[in-house]
């Protein structure tokens, strides 16, 4: 059985008006189905507004879809009883794109990371502090950072704290919602490395939501392309992505920039050649 199964999920936002007017409902997700196996990472690629983050929210259990089911370890997360839901919560975590808005600015690093621990594990203060220090060290920070406030960290460091909070309860699945997109290239690769290590250490699975195709290649085992609320194609390997004939996939592929400006050209056809070269590099 797959860890996570998404079955025919559809969602539209309708703005309810007090007085009836034009129907302003907007379809955001349309009949989406896929599965994530335990210990793997699914990379979800799509342009802005494709519904990626909404899909992430649906999977996290905070945005109920109008149709379809989300099964986590076989439980329907929207129709399970309270106790099961609370148990599922524990195994489902998230890391957001903007690390600053994902933490309460009035809390120290220690209190940020302690939040999930306090909710699920009744630890003594010393035990809890030991756990938090372990977690901080695991994500590349140190005991000195315990009492620091969010504004004293850099974006990359704060993202590490977010990751520490997400893995604190040793969850099964983490939704990485554009988690590295707002970081510089060096920090990005360091964080991706850390995520890869944690995946092996804790036996995690990821849903990696991104518009950065290169980052997705680095971490994902399978790939999916989302466009205008529809899951266009799913791939088991990078080669499949590169050989896809779908026009939208083609456009995405062409948007990958070559590392060296010399290889970049403006015409799509020439770029196509370059991305072929890129596929070999990757």
């Amino acid at each position: 059985m797959s860890l996570l199964q998404v079955k025919q999920v559809s969602l539209s936002f309708n703005s309810k008006k007090l007085f009836k007017g034009k129907d302003l409902s907007k379809k955001v997700l349309n009949d989406i189905s896929f599965a994530i196996e335990e210990g793997t990472c699914l990379g979800l690629i799509g342009t802005s507004g494709a519904g990626k983050s909404t899909l992430g929210k649906v999977i996290l259990g905070i945005q109920r879809p109008q149709q379809g089911q989300v099964l986590f370890q076989g439980y329907d997360i929207y129709n399970a009883d309270k106790a099961t839901q609370q148990k599922i919560r524990r195994d489902l975590q998230v890391v957001f794109q903007d690390s600053y808005s994902a933490v309460n600015p009035r809390m120290t690093a220690e209190r940020i990371i302690s939040e999930p621990l306090e909710n699920y594990e009744k630890l003594t203060i010393t035990e809890q502090r030991k756990r938090i220090i372990e977690l901080l060290e695991r994500v590349g920070l140190s005991e000195k950072d315990l009492k620091k406030y969010p504004h004293q960290f850099s974006g990359g460091q704060l993202q590490r704290i977010n990751i520490a909070r997400a893995v604190a309860l040793k969850p099964k699945l983490i939704v990485l919602d554009e988690s590295v997109s707002s970081l510089d290239m060096v920090t990005q690769s360091l964080i991706l490395e850390l995520l890869n290590e944690l995946k092996d250490d804790f036996g995690l699975s990821y849903l990696f939501i991104t518009h950065d195709i290169k980052a997705a290649f680095l971490i994902s085992d399978t790939l999916g392309v989302l466009e205008k609320g529809e899951l266009i194609e799913l791939y088991d390997s990078k080669d499949q992505f590169f050989s896809s004939k779908h026009p939208i996939v083609k456009r995405l592929r062409d948007s990958i920039l070559a590392e060296h400006p010399r290889f970049r050209t403006l015409t799509t056809k020439a770029n196509w050649v370059n991305t072929n070269r890129l596929s070999k590099q990757l």
Binding site: L60, S101, A102, N104, N119, Y120
Partner: protein
């Protein structure tokens, strides 16, 4: 430490001075019985309308009561009940604002439309109506003012909660398994309180003003209890012969209201809080 204090005095002059004045007033309200030279309600017609003397520092009123003592004791009523209004309206506004903002939907609509309805009636008129139904008295006036005032807090808090609710850290807290109560306690209330303190400072001035106005109209504090607004009311018959009877309590009201308003303004400037 000393240098730090001097720096603060320089950069935050208004805040420091206003806080000092308020602290002094606070001491006066607490220690009124020890400071006051005379009994504030002891009538002595033989000494009526006396000019300032050693025995009566600010003279006496038409019943021979010591004006200075009455002002000191009056501070207890004016400031004490204004504070009561402030705290009650704030708590009520806080609870209703948070519920309205966080729950949303029809609960929000219901509470806010009810609030709009209250706001549509001028506050003085509302309190007058309240007193008209249940009779004049401090209790009715205080209750009326609380019922008028909570709406403003509730609206501001609702707005803040609405924007806080969309923050990612609230979502992250939900995903971390925090219950609604924990989210309120840990994330929403601590982020709302600072702005509220600033707003409250401004509203304190409002509460004192209104409480005194109602007493001036003879609807709030009843004689012989000393209260600033009531003192002005009593003194107004002697405005030609003894204007001091109105001037002293009037000056006190002015001092307190201006202090609170200046403090509120500079605090809101300092912390970048928007007013309603």
């Amino acid at each position: 430490m000393k240098a730090k204090f001097r720096d603060m005095l320089k950069s935050q002059k208004v805040i420091v001075i206003c806080s000092l004045i308020l602290f002094l007033l606070f001491l006066i309200t607490i220690f009124a019985p020890w400071i006051a030279p005379n009994d504030p309600i002891a009538v002595n017609l033989a000494h009526k309308l006396q000019p300032p003397s050693l025995e009566y520092p600010l003279g006496t009123d038409h019943l021979g009561r010591c004006t200075f003592s009455r002002i000191l004791y009056g501070a207890r009523i004016s400031l004490g009940f204004a504070f009561l209004i402030f705290i009650s309206a704030l708590s009520m506004g806080l609870i209703i604002g948070i519920i309205s903002g966080y729950v949303g939907g029809w609960v929000d609509q219901l509470l806010m439309r009810f609030g709009d309805g209250l706001m549509a009636i001028p506050s003085l008129l509302f309190v007058l109506g309240f007193v008209g139904i249940w009779g004049a008295g401090l209790k009715q006036v205080v209750l009326g003012l609380i019922l008028v005032q909570w709406v403003y807090y509730a609206r501001v808090i609702r707005g803040m909660v609405l924007s806080l609710k969309e923050q990612n850290y609230i979502t992250a807290a939900k995903i971390s398994g925090s219950s609604t109560w924990i989210i309120m306690k840990k994330h929403i209330i601590p982020n709302v309180l600072p702005s509220l303190a600033v707003m409250g400072t401004l509203e304190m001035g409002w509460a004192i003003m209104n409480l005194s106005s109602m007493s001036f109209l003879g609807l709030g504090v009843q004689p012989p209890t000393p209260e600033w607004g009531a003192m002005i009311h009593e003194g107004k018959s002697y405005i030609r012969t003894n204007p001091a009877l109105m001037i002293y309590p009037g000056l006190m009201i002015m001092l307190v209201v201006i202090t609170f308003n200046l403090l509120g303004e500079s605090l809101s400037e300092r912390f970048g809080v928007k007013r309603r």
